[in-house]
Symmetry: C2
Subunit: 440 residues, 2 copies
């Protein structure tokens, strides 16, 4: 078995057999296949793909590169959600305690933000004292006690994926459906959940820009899940507009608390309840998540989770004094174009990242108070016109030198060919359809 | 300027601009772009190619990564030959002193063997004391004194190519026409020659298996040469059969001496004279290379070159006692199939390599006496039949444990789908056409 022969085979469009795939994943994890050979293979896979059988073997090899969590001692059925990542996507923070409050156990092993998308762990760390690093036995014990945990994947969970993920990021081999789906599913299957709902984001702020691509990704992941006996379903949801009214770490926790209190932005509540319904169905738990949310029981689960993970649920969230308000007029609002017609998720995500909320490298810290709040959204505007003087955006940062770059992104200055990301129009715009379809 | 953006652009089929290509070559040479990023780009180039303008920029950037030899002080016109590599291809050893004896200066910077193809420097090093490592000023001074030098490229000649070449070898990104042509031409242009003839090998023992691919490679290289004001022409020559009657280091030097003495295998003489004619024409030197070869003047140049590079032209060549003779009958020769119909260059090259004549890694040493001598060739057989008892091959090695692997390659055992590499037939086979075409 020789890595160059494997590379030649995949480069030439051949399907790799089990022995070849296992050799690659094992040798790369062990370090005898080098990063440059692995990246060449990833690029060849970008062009030549992996067929269903290769993908099953590849995913299994990634799972087998580490340990699988054993959740069999839990009495409650286990169910998790994974989102492919978007802007303002704080759904997990509400959803995990909500589904736990409904009676399932939610073992949510999450990630950090990279690029324009935020990360669940970064958001939770804006809560004073919150600890995301738990051992396998701490995870099981917390699930047993309070039914919910949101933490980082343990060291030995799909280590092959950790190494490949870091490599893909610097070698432009991220956007490959077999590589994305095997990466996500190897982690989620190794996590040990019985059921899994995938929130596949579609649109400008998502990694999948079109419904076709998102459908292909969702179908691929659902098939992998079923092959490994995980009840898996997917929902395709809109990410042309950002979710809720904020992007940023502490800002999104603030919005989470509003939603857990029964309020918050309507789109966030709608998607959260739809995903909760789906998770409970897969888990075979009969409960009405809207009632549970409004009853305050989800908030109780949230507080228990924060406390169990050494956080202080009552500590004030980090804030900053550097807040710049941009008006509707800054983006062309006038009496002849008073309706907000577009608020591009990607541009807002990039701008929040520039303000300090995100990172460009895995090792960089994030700013907790940094981010953006938008005070209107297309569709809200069906009911009222805006004036040029009205505030539209609040930009939060800890370093005012970051403001000009963020503003350039919001005006679309950095990409001459792009349509402006924030647009006002003469006539009102209908709100976007939030949930496109389900795949089971 | 960001390497990931460059990767995304090439991955998506975009042409890279001058700034992007210069950034990549400079940063990779300097080490700020990593091997894994470079190999991902090479694999993307394998799939997406480089257009004419990108290729010109890429080659120039590789030349500019180091120094260009200055041969302007020489009074004789300079001309070199490059072969894309084959089995038994000892042409350079005869050709360089021959063309020098005709009145041109031949600055031949050569390489080592890798895989099934032999390397000119390895062959020369089987001559006692021969030194292939000369400085730039030693090269110029030797050319001035005796008109010919065959040595290794100096350290600072196209260093970007050195790094990329080593990387391509381990990442299955060798077989790309833009990468092959820019690699060869950057070295040859940096070498400072005024004229250049390319011997592009076609067939089983060559890197280009078909005439179409070889033509594309030849045309690409000729265009690059002309762009850089090097008089460039190409000859496409047959490499389905090996050249001459031996593959191996000392064995090929022995054959070189026969040819320099006016004898030797007829195919070796024919190709050498055709290439010499072409080189002299490009260099504007009027001479008859056949006369010069037969006069012994080429042998004189050879001896001067060996002496100038610290070698002993009269020292006996390294030999080995371990010689295994294989008969025609071993390969199916019988009274009903007495004519040798195929003697596959690739299989012989691989077998010679297995016997110790070649290397699989750049750092490995080679065995000087190891190799193969074939005692018949298809086409020779037009005149006589063989019998099963007649010897067909002599296998030379310094380690008898290597014999079984080499034999397996000669029988074609290692590749079930391949046709047997050595075949006997009922009727005689015509000799192969040696020179397919010229490209100017």
């Amino acid at each position: 078995m020789n890595i160059v022969d494997i590379l030649l085979a995949k480069r030439g469009g051949e399907a790799l057999n089990e022995e070849q795939i296992n050799f690659f994943i094992e040798s790369y994890t062990a370090g005898t296949v080098t990063d440059e050979q692995a990246s060449a293979l990833l690029m060849a896979i970008y062009f030549q793909g992996l067929n269903t059988s290769e993908l099953a073997t590849w995913t299994k090899a990634m799972i087998d590169s580490g340990e699988r969590l054993d959740l069999s001692s839990l009495s409650a059925p286990t169910v998790d959600k994974h989102s492919t990542g978007g802007v303002g996507d704080k759904v997990s923070l509400v959803l995990a305690p909500l589904v736990a409050a409904c009676g399932a156990a939610v073992p949510q092993l999450s990630g950090r933000g990279l690029g324009h998308t935020g990360g669940t762990l970064d958001k939770l760390e804006s809560i004073s004292g919150f600890n995301v690093n738990l051992t396998a036995s701490e995870i099981v014990s917390q699930l047993d006690n309070i039914g919910v945990v949101i933490c980082a994947a343990t060291e030995n969970l799909a280590p092959a994926d950790k190494k490949l993920y870091a490599l893909r990021d610097v070698t432009a081999t991220v956007e490959s459906i077999p590589l994305i789906s095997s990466s996500i599913m190897s982690k989620k299957i190794a996590e040990g959940t019985e059921s899994l709902v995938l929130d596949v984001k579609v649109g400008s702020g998502a990694f999948m820009k079109t419904l076709d691509l998102a459908t292909e990704l969702a179908e691929t992941m659902v098939a992998i899940g079923k092959e490994h006996s995980v009840n898996t379903a997917a929902m395709l949801t809109n990410m042309d507009l950002p979710l809720g009214n904020t992007a940023g770490n502490a800002l999104e926790v603030e919005e989470t608390l509003e939603c857990l209190a029964g309020g918050g932005p309507s789109d966030l509540r709608e998607i959260t309840l739809a995903l909760a319904q789906e998770m409970l169905e897969l888990a075979g738990v009969s409960a009405d998540p809207a009632n549970v949310l409004d009853s305050g029981k989800a908030m109780d689960s949230w507080r228990k989770m924060i406390l169990a993970q050494s956080g202080d649920p009552d500590a004030p969230l980090p804030t900053t004094d550097i807040v710049e308000v941009m008006t509707a007029g800054d983006f062309g609002c006038s009496s002849s174009a008073p309706y907000l017609a577009n608020l591009d998720a990607y541009a807002l995500g990039i701008a929040a990242w520039r303000l300090g909320a995100g990172r460009s490298k895995k090792s960089e810290p994030v700013s907790f108070p940094a981010g953006i709040r938008w005070l209107a959204k297309p569709g809200d505007e069906m009911t009222h016109k805006m004036t040029a003087e009205q505030p539209l955006l609040e930009l939060y940062t800890e370093d005012e030198k970051l403001l000009p770059l963020a503003k350039a992104d919001l005006f679309g200055d950095s990409d001459a060919e792009a349509h402006p990301p924030i647009v006002f129009a003469k006539n009102p715009t209908a709100g976007a359809e939030l949930i496109h379809k389900k795949i089971k």
